[in-house]
């Protein structure tokens, strides 16, 4: 929101000039905060300008090597070279990435990076995993090549570049050419095939932008490559000029009917995945559900002192991610509905959870440790589960991201992994009693999911520090807290994640996925590995070298065994030992994460689905390292210098019977990092050449976004005829007058947190208003100051907010410091609350109060579809006003295309209904006497029913039908009013 709204403030202030400052800048939105002052540096490689900050230089050097490596490969795949240097902007963590100004939108967890094609910028965060970092760089570079190649094709054929390839194809080819299919791809595709939610090619637009689309796109590109030849992928881009409809491009290139291509692809998916259905377990059939609604993950179990078992987990049932708990019986069946322990994503304290990355831990004395983002960094929260009281919160300077805290058995220490400013992830132990933080590892490997042994002597964790880690394998390791030694617990070309010790410390449960014979990853299953090798082999009677029988110890070293307990269709995550022969885990099935309990664990351990010896690991101190750019010289490494590029250039000419011809242009420039922005607006309302300067409107403004406080300032000159119903001096029947304004403004928006901010603005301008009909020629030198406090934690549904609340309190004072012609105060309070009655039903309330008081105070107005329904816009006017609106919003057809498929073609995304009641009252002094047809001095309102139709997921049509209420609701007008408009609900 930040830029858009901040700019809105700036422009708004500028356009309305001083008298109206802060009157109409009512708006909401969360804040994108620049917590860190990045010291940007540019590293120049053969093909790239790499933007990074000094703390992450090593990571940037790895990234530089990855980028050049990707370039060399993609130059061959695309048979194409780039003629411009590519700006690559690196962040060392997701939390830093979220602060980028290169895009104005909020970046959720899980976004691996993006390519912005206007300036050709590629923006990528690291997340502690160099494999992932490398893959994302390749992914984005595929986008860069695709875009440049496509633009070249269009330009060669002189086709306007107003069409682009479908997203499934661009993302699919980017994934496909980023590397072999990973375990997540296989998990999604297997699940989609087994649960029958594969979206056919002709309907893939219905899942545009979803994770399923990415993975289906990758599978489609792999299918095209295998079936029609690898070269066909590039041909699809080369042939894009042939038709605007990509289906026809596919038919031309692959020389098959589109439906035939689709059928072949679906058959290919079935042939690939159906044979694997033999001898598999289905989690929903073989494991009981503990929490199966919505999205639930990262379970932990706690047995209260009163004997009750409770399962705690992170879940998203209604849009916000919260921390839930559910009481379970001795067989881990839920005994009641899940309850919220911690409300997430609504407060500064619990901004967001890392729902897929960070586990929780419960100490033996019942303290829950979990991580949320809270301001600049992640923090570890503790919560006493017995007393239900929040405990201390731990944060650590320079530890940006924190994952998976685990309590020591004595409850004094917490181990966790953290990404610091360098971008690498390492193991740490924090002693809560001495307030001492100890770093256990310090390298480039990806260490994850630590768990403390019951003895307190060891940590087990997952890491790619294995000798097979160069091939992206993850194994389990133990860290000895006394010696600092790290030893393998498992070894092999596999992904071993999420280990947890058994209560006796003899075994470790974890999940693992391995490649099958065809190179694809199989299901992610629950395994148990011995914590210690078995005993030495017993002596046996055997022939010695002299041929005599004697007792001998076989020369076989002690063995460690791993047992696979499941054979799941898709994937298990985060297993937790439970008492009574059970393991709790999160399962992924039917595109949903749920918490389940696996029973009969003792029997599964004695008769596992697979018993395997843990392979002996090689003794290599530092098994592998990724390539890295050689030590860059000072010539290659430069301080960042702002260079501005064009963002928007738009011109407009309009012709109006009343106003005549007018025209103008808007230009916007920004630096490469999007931190510094210039806006130039030029507009002329002049009717003839000699009138040009008199009718020229100019606004020059600059906005700085690199600091925590967003600062804007500018100068303006406005001149022309103005039509303003809110001006109290304007002629009543035709409120048109001439006005010239010269001035400057400044504005500061300071975010207190993601949800709250303070806005300050000031402007100083000379204003000349000429109203010949009323013989008014008023000059004023206006100083206007405004302050606002804004809060917004509302959760948006398809048609508008559905939960949370937002509000704004504003105060402004405008005065004429030379002529004393103007002098008034503005006060405004706008509060909106959204009560979630049920998952799909919301009761929304709005309360608005506004006062303008003083000389030449402006009028507020209401009416129209945005506030007071049933009354024409501007027909409710006054210097003081209150307004309230209440609306019950409910679904009529959810996912209408599922019920009426033709609606999908029309873009219908949802249809909802609303019952509403609006009420308002305005006061004036002598204004009504002059214009009696306006509604003022009485309490009026309306009530009725409305329809909300969401088209294409982002465009809402609103239709309201109701009765007007007059005279303090004593009268109801008999005639129904109908009102049609578009826009989101309040």
């Amino acid at each position: 929101m930040r830029l858009a709204r901040f700019l809105a403030v700036s422009v708004c202030i500028g356009c309305m000039a001083a008298p109206t400052a802060a009157q109409y800048s009512f708006y909401f939105g969360r804040n994108k905060i620049q917590y860190k002052d990045f010291d940007w540096t540019v590293l120049k490689t053969e093909h790239f300008d790499i933007y990074f900050y000094p703390e992450m230089q090593t990571l940037a050097e790895h990234g530089a090597a990855f980028a050049e490596e990707a370039y060399a490969e993609l130059q061959n795949r695309f048979n194409f070279s780039l003629t411009n240097r590519v700006p690559l902007v690196f962040y060392s963590s997701q939390l830093h990435f979220k602060q980028t100004n290169i895009t104005d939108g909020f970046i959720p967890d899980g976004v691996g990076g993006f390519f912005e094609f206007l300036k050709g910028r590629v923006v990528i965060p690291a997340n502690g995993n160099l494999h992932r970092f490398r893959r994302v760089i390749r992914h984005e570079m595929v986008h860069v090549f695709t875009f440049n190649k496509l633009v070249r094709v269009y330009r060669d054929f002189r086709i306007p570049p107003d069409r682009f390839l479908p997203l499934w194809f661009t993302e699919g080819i980017a994934e496909y050419w980023s590397g072999p299919q990973d375990h997540q791809h296989e998990m999604i595709m297997r699940d989609a095939v087994y649960a029958n939610y594969v979206v056919p090619l002709e309907n893939i637009y219905r899942v545009t932008g979803s994770y399923v689309m990415y993975k289906e796109g990758e599978a489609l590109c792999r299918f095209i490559s295998e079936h029609y030849g690898e070269e066909s992928l590039l041909q699809l881009i080369d042939n894009a000029w042939i038709d605007r409809d990509f289906r026809k491009v596919m038919e031309f290139t692959l020389r098959e009917d589109y439906q035939e291509i689709n059928d072949r692809w679906l058959e290919w998916l079935r042939d690939t995945y159906y044979p694997r259905l033999e001898d598999v377990d289905v989690a929903t059939l073989d494991a009981d559900g503990v929490a199966v609604r919505g999205f639930s993950s990262k379970p932990v179990l706690y047995r209260r002192r009163d004997g009750r078992h409770q399962v705690f987990y992170t879940g998203n049932l209604d849009g916000y991610t919260n921390l839930y708990y559910v009481d379970v019986d001795s067989l881990y069946r839920p005994r009641s509905e899940a309850q919220i322990l911690v409300h997430g994503e609504r407060s500064d304290q619990f901004e967001s959870f890392h729902v897929l990355d960070s586990r929780m831990s419960v100490s033996q004395d019942g303290h829950l440790a979990f991580v949320t983002k809270s301001g600049e960094t992640d923090v570890i929260h503790t919560f006493d589960l017995e007393s239900r009281v929040a405990g201390p919160v731990y944060f650590f300077e320079d530890k940006v991201a924190i994952y998976s805290p685990t309590w020591s058995p004595d409850g004094d220490r917490i181990a966790f992994v953290s990404i610091d400013n360098s971008g690498f992830i390492d193991l740490y132990v924090y002693d809560t009693t001495s307030d001492e933080l100890t770093r256990l590892t310090n390298d480039t490997y990806d260490d994850r999911d630590p768990a403390w042994s019951p003895s307190g002597q060891q940590l087990v964790f997952s890491s790619d520090r294995t000798a097979l880690g160069h091939a992206n394998a993850y194994n389990l390791f133990t860290y000895d807290l006394e010696s600092g030694g790290i030893d393998y617990l498992t070894y092999g070309d596999q992904h071993d994640f999420s280990p947890r010790w058994s209560s006796d410390g003899r075994q470790v449960v974890y999940v693992s996925t391995r490649r099958e014979a065809d190179g694809r990853f199989g299901g992610q299953d629950i395994y148990v590995v011995d914590a210690d090798p078995g005993p030495e082999a017993a002596p046996v009677l055997a022939l010695d070298s002299l041929g005599a029988l004697s007792m001998q110890v076989p020369s076989v070293p002690p063995q460690r065994w791993s047992r696979r307990l499941t054979s799941l269709t898709t994937a298990a995550f985060d297993p937790v030992w439970a008492e009574d022969d059970h393991i709790l885990f999160a399962s992924f099935e039917n595109y949903r994460f749920s918490i389940r309990s696996l029973g009969g664990v003792d029997s599964l351990l004695s008769s596992p689905r697979q018993l395997e010896q843990v392979a002996p690991p090689p003794a290599v101190a530092r098994p592998w390292e990724f390539d890295r750019l050689n030590e860059p010289t000072s010539i290659d490494k430069l301080a960042y210098q702002r260079r501005y590029g064009l963002d928007i250039a738009q011109g407009q000419i309009s012709n109006n019977a009343v106003w005549g011809t007018s025209g103008g242009a808007v230009l916007a420039f920004s630096d490469l990092l999007g931190n510094d922005r210039f806006f130039i607006t030029l507009y002329s309302t002049s009717q003839y050449t000699g009138d040009f300067l008199r009718g020229l409107n100019v606004n020059l403004s600059r906005v700085h976004l690199s600091g925590r406080a967003n600062i804007g300032y500018g100068i303006y000159r406005y001149g022309g005829l103005r039509y303003d119903l809110t001006d109290p001096d304007a002629p009543l029947e035709f409120p048109r007058f001439w006005e010239e304004v010269y001035g400057g403004f400044g504005a500061v928006s300071f975010p207190i947190s993601m949800f709250r901010r303070i806005e300050l603005s000031t402007s100083l301008s000379w204003d000349d208003k000429q109203i010949p009909i009323r013989r008014i020629d008023r000059e004023a030198f206006l100083l206007s100051n405004a302050v606002s406090l804004v809060h917004d934690n509302a959760l948006f549904g398809m048609n508008g907010p559905v939960d949370g609340w937002r509000g704004k309190l504003s105060a402004a004072y405008t005065t004429d410091i030379v002529y004393s012609n103007v002098n008034y105060v503005t006060l405004e309070a706008d509060l909106r609350h959204y009560l979630r009655v049920s998952r799909h039903v919301t009761f929304a309330s709005r309360l608005l109060g506004r006062v303008n008081h003083g000389r030449e105070a402006r009028l507020w107005f209401m009416g129209g579809s945005w506030d007071l329904r049933g009354y024409p816009l501007f027909d409710v006017r006054g210097k003081k006003a209150w307004f309230t609106s209440h609306e019950l919003r409910f679904p009529l057809i959810n996912a209408p295309s599922a019920f009426v498929p033709p609606l999908a073609i029309l873009g219908v995304a949802s249809l909802r209904g609303a019952l509403f009641l609006d009420a308002a009252h305005t006061w004036n002094e002598d204004y009504r006497a002059r214009i009696p047809q306006i509604y003022t001095g009485e309490t009026i309102g309306s009530t009725g029913f409305g329809l909300r139709l969401n088209l294409f997921g982002g465009f809402v049509l609103r239709y309201d039908l109701g009765y007007r209420l007059r005279e303090g609701f004593k009268e109801r007008e008999k005639r129904l009013f109908r009102q049609f408009f578009f826009g989101f609900d309040f």
């Binding site: 061959n76 003629t83 330009r155 070269e231």
Partner: protein
């Protein structure tokens, strides 16, 4: 043509053709140059001055090179209502049009006829004067053909996308020989001195005997993602660029690799050979003059855009097509 054009070169003139170009080289036509554009136009330019003699639109896109047969210009159309258009240059009028599957490759002239391959993999010999079909041959499995036909005195060579090289009798269209080179072929092969050099998308270059279709030698890179470009062939050497940015020179007879020059950016256009130099256009906007003797760089000239099309060597100049839409003529630098 005497292959003498010694570096350093300099730009003699530049011509704006208003659209991009296909992979084929410009056609020399007496003192004129013939250029087809992807906007469907054919331009006639005076070779000495770069002055436009004329330009006419024949369809929505022309991707392959047209030919001139007895003052009849025959244009292959990749997108448009007609797929083949004949234009009498003397009378300045279209004399016939043919509808049918689009033609994405260039044409080859044979006496009074033209040879074409359409997108359905059908090879045809058509009379230029009236468009009458002389013979037609459908290639096996109706493959796509991205390479312009190569005409020899008694046969025409077609190489399809699947890497199948076919020699057809010029008079009857009958198959003389067929050979699978291995690997997909998306760029034109080149012939010279009894040899046919076929580049593939899988990092290979196969050299066949034009008489028998037998493989004489093959070069294969370990990296199968590399795309070899159309080579240049003479009696002594084969020279080809590739998407990996390297220009390679082989002994034409033994296939021994003689030198490798690192051009930096992808080299996707066919090089042009003179006695002393190999001229190669790069995707990095550079024209490279590389010494034939030792593969060292003699000169590089930065042009206005990528060079993706084959070049044409003239007695005293080199015609280069560059992005976004320029025809450039280079000549030996004055005073050197």
């Amino acid at each position: 043509m005497d292959p003498v054009l010694d570096a350093p070169l300099e730009v003699a003139w530049s011509y704006n053709a208003r659209a991009g170009f296909g992979p084929d080289a410009p056609q020399s036509f007496g003192e004129y140059i013939l250029i087809s554009t992807r906007q469907g136009e054919v331009h006639v330019i005076e070779a000495a001055t770069g002055r436009r003699v004329g330009a006419k639109r024949f369809g929505d896109a022309v991707n392959g090179a047209p030919v001139v047969v007895d003052r009849v210009l025959v244009v292959p159309v990749a997108a448009g209502r007609s797929s083949l258009v004949a234009y009498n240059l003397s009378r300045a009028q279209v004399i016939w049009r043919r509808r049918g599957p689009p033609i994405h490759t260039g044409l080859a002239a044979v006496e009074e006829d033209v040879i074409l391959v359409n997108i359905d993999g059908v090879v045809e010999r058509v009379r230029a004067a009236d468009g009458e079909l002389v013979w037609s041959h459908a290639l096996t499995d109706a493959p796509r053909v991205y390479a312009r036909p190569i005409v020899l005195p008694d046969r025409v060579i077609i190489v399809d996308e699947h890497g199948r090289a076919v020699a057809l009798d010029l008079e009857s269209g009958a198959v003389i020989w067929e050979h699978l080179v291995g690997g997909q072929v998306y760029t034109a092969p080149a012939a010279g001195d009894g040899r046919l050099a076929v580049p593939t998308t899988r990092g290979q270059l196969s050299v066949l005997d034009l008489n028998t279709g037998d493989r004489l030698w093959q070069f294969a890179l370990p990296d199968s993602t590399v795309r070899m470009a159309t080579p240049a062939v003479n009696e002594k050497v084969v020279v080809a660029g590739a998407s990996d940015g390297f220009l390679r020179k082989w002994d034409a007879i033994s296939g021994a690799l003689e030198w490798v020059f690192d051009g930096g950016e992808a080299l996707t256009a066919a090089p042009v050979l003179t006695d002393s130099f190999a001229y190669a256009g790069s995707m990095g906007r550079r024209l490279l003059a590389v010494r034939m003797a030792d593969g060292t760089l003699a000169q590089e000239i930065e042009l206005r855009g990528r060079i993706k099309s084959s070049m044409t060597l003239q007695p005293d100049g080199l015609i280069v097509l560059t992005e976004p839409r320029y025809v450039v003529r280079l000549k030996e630098a004055d005073g050197v």
